[in-house]
C-alpha cells in the first residue's frame, strides 16, 4: 500500500494548497479591510474598524449599494418567475422542440456577455432607453434567468408528478394543485434560484458597466470606475469584505440545505 498511501497524502496536500490559492484573494480582501492605513501594506502597522465606520456613514456608497440591491431584486423577481414557468412547462409537458427551447434559454451562460452588452447598448440608445432603470433590470433579468431555468428544471424533474395527480383526483382544481402541492414542494428550488439570481445580478460588473448610465450606478460599476482611475478607496474594501462574508454564509447554507452544487 506504499505508493497508494503516498499518492493519497500528496493529493490531500495539493488540494489544500489549491484551496489556499482559490480563496487567497478573498481572504486578503477581508484582511486588508481591517488595515488602519489608507494604503494597504503587508503586514499592516495597525488594525481598526475605521473603514467599516466610514462605509456606514458614506452616502455615496449607500446609494450605489441600494441601486445594486434594487436592480438585483427586480431582475431576480422576473428571472425566477419566468424561469420557473418555463422550467415547469419543459419538465411537465415535454413540448415538441423543448430541447431547442431549453438551449435557447441557456445561451446567456455560453455566449460572451461583453459582446452582447456592446450590442444591447447600441439598441438601447437607438430606442432612447439607455441609462434607464428598466433597461438595466431587463439586461440583468436575462443574464440571471438561465440559472433559475436550470435550477428549476432539476427541481421539477425530481418532483413526483403522482403527488399532483393524486391531489387532482381527490378533487383539487388545477390552480389549487399548483398552490398547495407543486409550489410548496418546489420551494427549495425557488429559494435557490432567487438567491443565485440576486447574487449574480448584485455582483455583475461586465454588463452593468456598459449599460448603466450616470443615473443608476451599481456598486460594482462604481468600484470598477474607481479602480481604473483613482486607485483603491479602503472603504470599498470594507464593503467588499462584507459582501464576500455574506456570500460565504449564503453558499454554506445553500450547499448544506439545498445542495446548490448539484442543482447547477
Amino acid at each position: 500500500m506504499k505508493t497508494y498511501g503516498f499518492a493519497v497524502s500528496a493529493r490531500f496536500i495539493w488540494t489544500l494548497l489549491a484551496y489556499v490559492f482559490l480563496l487567497a484573494p478573498i481572504a486578503v480582501l477581508i484582511f486588508a479591510s481591517f488595515d488602519d492605513a489608507s494604503f494597504f501594506r503587508f503586514p499592516p502597522k495597525a488594525y481598526s474598524l475605521r473603514w467599516y465606520e466610514a462605509a456606514v456613514e458614506s452616502g455615496e456608497y449607500r446609494s450605489a449599494l441600494s441601486v445594486s440591491l434594487l436592480v438585483a431584486l427586480l431582475a431576480g423577481f422576473i428571472a425566477v418567475i419566468f424561469g420557473a414557468m418555463a422550467a415547469f412547462s419543459l419538465v411537465r409537458y415535454r413540448p415538441a422542440g423543448g430541447r431547442i427551447v431549453e438551449a435557447i434559454l441557456m445561451t446567456p451562460l455560453v455566449l460572451p456577455l461583453i459582446v452582447w452588452a456592446i450590442a444591447l447598448l447600441q439598441i438601447y440608445s437607438k430606442l432612447g432607453m439607455s441609462g434607464t432603470l428598466p433597461a438595466l433590470v431587463l439586461a440583468h433579468a436575462v443574464i440571471t434567468m438561465p440559472f433559475s431555468v436550470r435550477i428549476m428544471v432539476s427541481t421539477f424533474a425530481d418532483l413526483d408528478p403522482l403527488l399532483e395527480q393524486a391531489a387532482a383526483t381527490l378533487g383539487a382544481s388545477p390552480g389549487h394543485v399548483v398552490r398547495r402541492v407543486t409550489l410548496p414542494l418546489a420551494m427549495p428550488g425557488l429559494v435557490s434560484s432567487a438567491a443565485f439570481s440576486v447574487l449574480i445580478s448584485f455582483n455583475d460588473v461586465i454588463v452593468s458597466s456598459l449599460i448603466a448610465g450616470a443615473r443608476w450606478i451599481t456598486f460594482p460599476v462604481r468600484l470598477y470606475a474607481q479602480l481604473r482611475s483613482q486607485g483603491i478607496d479602503p472603504i470599498t474594501l470594507a464593503i467588499g469584505s462584507a459582501i464576500v462574508a455574506f456570500i460565504l454564509v449564503a453558499a454554506l447554507i445553500g450547499e448544506f440545505m439545498f445542495k446548490w452544487s448539484r442543482r447547477l
Binding site: 482559490l22 414557468m85 434559454l105 445561451t107 452582447w116 450590442a119 447598448l121 448584485f202 479602480l227 452544487s261
Partner: protein, 282 residues
C-alpha cells in the same frame, strides 16, 4: 405544442429572444457598417472595412494571438490544478464534501470584481506575496506581477477554476471511491490507474470544463484590465475600449463577431472531441 405549455414558455422565450438574441443579430449587421468621416453616426451602405482593418493591422494580430495563448495557458493550468482537487472532493464524504463544494461556489458568485480587488493586494509591489518573498530573502526587489502576462494568467486561473472543478467533480463522483486502492491490491501503481481508468472516465468532464474555462478566459475583460493595468490588451479589453471609450461601435461589433466565431470554433472542437470519445471502444 400544447397550448398551456406554450403559454408558460412564452415570457422567458420573448425576454431571451428580444433582449438577448436580437442584439447578436444587430451586432452582425453593424459590423458591416462604418462611421462617417469625423462623426459618430454611421455612413450609408455596407462594407467589410472593419474586418479588413482587423486583418491588416498587426496590433490586432498581436492581441489575437496573446488572447488565444493566455486563454490556452489558463485552461491547461486550471486542469492540472483541478484534477487531483476534484478527485479529493469526490471521495470526501458528508460535511467535508459540503464544505469543499460551498467554498468553490463562493468565487463563482462573487463576480469578477471583488476577487480581482483581493488579487491586487496579493500581487501588488507592496502586497502579501512580495512581502513574504522579501522576508524569506528570496528577492530584494519586488517581483512584478501586475501589468504582466503571468499576473493576468494567475488571475484568470483563480477566477475560472470553479468552472473547471464543477464538471470534474460531477464526473468523478460516479467513480467508486476505492478504485485506486483496488488497483493497488491487484498490483497497478496509482499513475497507471489514473491513465487507464480515471482519465478515460472523466474525459467528458475534462472537455466540458476546458471549454468553459477557455471561453470565459477568451472573453473576460475585468481581470486583464485590472491585473494587466491597461498594459495587456486582450479581445475583451479591446472590444470594451472600442465600444465605451472610442465609441466606434461598428468596429467594436466586428471585434465581437470575430470573438464569437472563435468561440463557435472552440465549442465545435469540444463537441467533436466528445463525439470521438463516445465512438471509441472502451
Amino acid at each position: 405544442m400544447n397550448k398551456r405549455a406554450l403559454m408558460l414558455l412564452l415570457p422567458a422565450l420573448i425576454l431571451s429572444g428580444i433582449v438577448f438574441l436580437l442584439p447578436f443579430l444587430w451586432l452582425f449587421v453593424t459590423s458591416f457598417r462604418v462611421q462617417g468621416e469625423g462623426s459618430l453616426l454611421m455612413a450609408e451602405g455596407f462594407s467589410a472595412a472593419n474586418y479588413a482593418r482587423l486583418v491588416s493591422d498587426s496590433y490586432f494580430a498581436e492581441v489575437f494571438f496573446r488572447t488565444m495563448w493566455m486563454s490556452a495557458a489558463a485552461t491547461v493550468i486550471s486542469l492540472v490544478i483541478a484534477l487531483p482537487m476534484a478527485r479529493q472532493i469526490a471521495v470526501s464524504a458528508g460535511r467535508a464534501k459540503g464544505l469543499l463544494l460551498a467554498l468553490i461556489l463562493v468565487p463563482l458568485v462573487s463576480g469578477a470584481l471583488l476577487p480581482t480587488l483581493g488579487m491586487l493586494h496579493l500581487l501588488g509591489p507592496l502586497g502579501v506575496i512580495n512581502s513574504i518573498l522579501k522576508d524569506f530573502g528570496l528577492t530584494t526587489k519586488s517581483v512584478k506581477f501586475l501589468g504582466t502576462v503571468p499576473g493576468v494568467i494567475i488571475g484568470l486561473v483563480q477566477a475560472f477554476l470553479p468552472l473547471m472543478l464543477l464538471p470534474l467533480v460531477n464526473a468523478l463522483s460516479r467513480l467508486p471511491k476505492d478504485v485506486e486502492a483496488a488497483a493497488e491490491t491487484l498490483g497497478a501503481p496509482t499513475h497507471i490507474v489514473w491513465r487507464r481508468v480515471i482519465l478515460p472516465l472523466v474525459a467528458p468532464g475534462i472537455i466540458a470544463g476546458s471549454v468553459l474555462v477557455f471561453c470565459a478566459s477568451l472573453t473576460s475583460f475585468v481581470t486583464p484590465q485590472i491585473l494587466g493595468q491597461g498594459k495587456i490588451a486582450t479581445f475583451g479589453t479591446m472590444a470594451y475600449q472600442q465600444a465605451s471609450l472610442v465609441l466606434d461601435w461598428p468596429f467594436a461589433s466586428a471585434v465581437a463577431v470575430v470573438m464569437l466565431a472563435i468561440l463557435a470554433l472552440g465549442l465545435a472542437v469540444g463537441s467533436l472531441a466528445l463525439k470521438l470519445l463516445a465512438r471509441r471502444p472502451a
